[in-house]
Symmetry: C2
Subunit: 166 residues, 2 copies
């Protein structure tokens, strides 16, 4: 069985989409660019930004979506692909994360307005402390994701940010 990028042809994609092959080549240029965008679309779809009206619930919902994605075969494949050191992949990965962090920023802007997060604090280190252990576990330590106490960690960090740093 062919795997990865060799498992499909542009002709097959065009046939399934009901468009002409040239339309796909015109838009994406290469099969790699098409596969990359399909992966990123999948990640964006799986990690939609919640808006529950509560910072705590938004963060818990986002972490639950991330655990589900990282525990799925598609999520693992996407993560493995994204770790390539090929310059195009590195650039696409960094751009993807910059865009994701700016989307996540909206959660904190709403929280600041509701008085749930200090206006002067930088939300990005907060967010990275919440999500990074999941990546550490998948990529490095091999520990199970469902052992990770996401809710407790959200509550601990919210406590930490409610108290002014000494």
């Amino acid at each position: 069985m062919k795997k990865g990028i060799d498992a499909f042809t542009i002709a097959e994609v065009a046939a399934r989409a009901g468009v002409h092959e040239t339309s796909i080549y015109r838009r994406w240029g290469t099969k790699h660019a098409l596969a990359r965008d399909a992966c990123l679309d999948h990640a964006d779809g799986a990690l939609q930004i919640p808006d529950t009206g509560s910072l705590r619930l938004d963060l818990i919902a986002l972490l639950e979506r991330l655990v589900a994605l990282l525990d799925s075969p598609e999520g693992r494949a996407l993560l493995t692909l994204s770790l390539s050191q090929h310059p195009h992949v590195v650039a696409a990965r960094h751009a993807f994360w910059q865009r994701r962090f700016s989307l996540v920023h909206a959660i904190f802007e709403r929280a600041v307005v509701r008085g749930e997060f200090p206006r002067r604090a930088d939300p990005m280190p907060f967010m990275q402390m919440l999500i990074a252990p999941l990546y550490l576990r998948v990529l490095i330590t091999g520990e199970a994701l469902d052992d990770w106490p996401s809710k407790e960690m959200v509550d601990r960090l919210l406590t930490a940010y409610a108290v002014p740093p000494t």
Copy 2:
């Protein structure tokens, strides 16, 4: 120039160490096992467990050592090597991390005795939140490690653990 595992021979290692080649083969069996143990030794040496008498200072010292290692060519090479999906590498990586976490545990045991960390709290999620963002940055987002506010994050987490969870 030869790189990685092809850059040296057992004969060269034996000559430098002043021992007979068979001594090396007897102990390690393969060049891969020798290279793996050399890497792990290097990581252990670079990441010695501090004992300053203060949990806060122990954590800051450990994070500074980790940043220095991850910012060094040796540290990057070791990390890239360790991400291989080869079953032997995966097993060695998981064993290394289990051992490292048990070493780090000593920092928290001393802190519990000094009344600096709650006896009932699990220190491992605490530790993973501190170190994981550094790995996220190196492997995934590409952000600089020296932008990471290690000391502020240590202080925030210590605050979070000083207050009982709601």
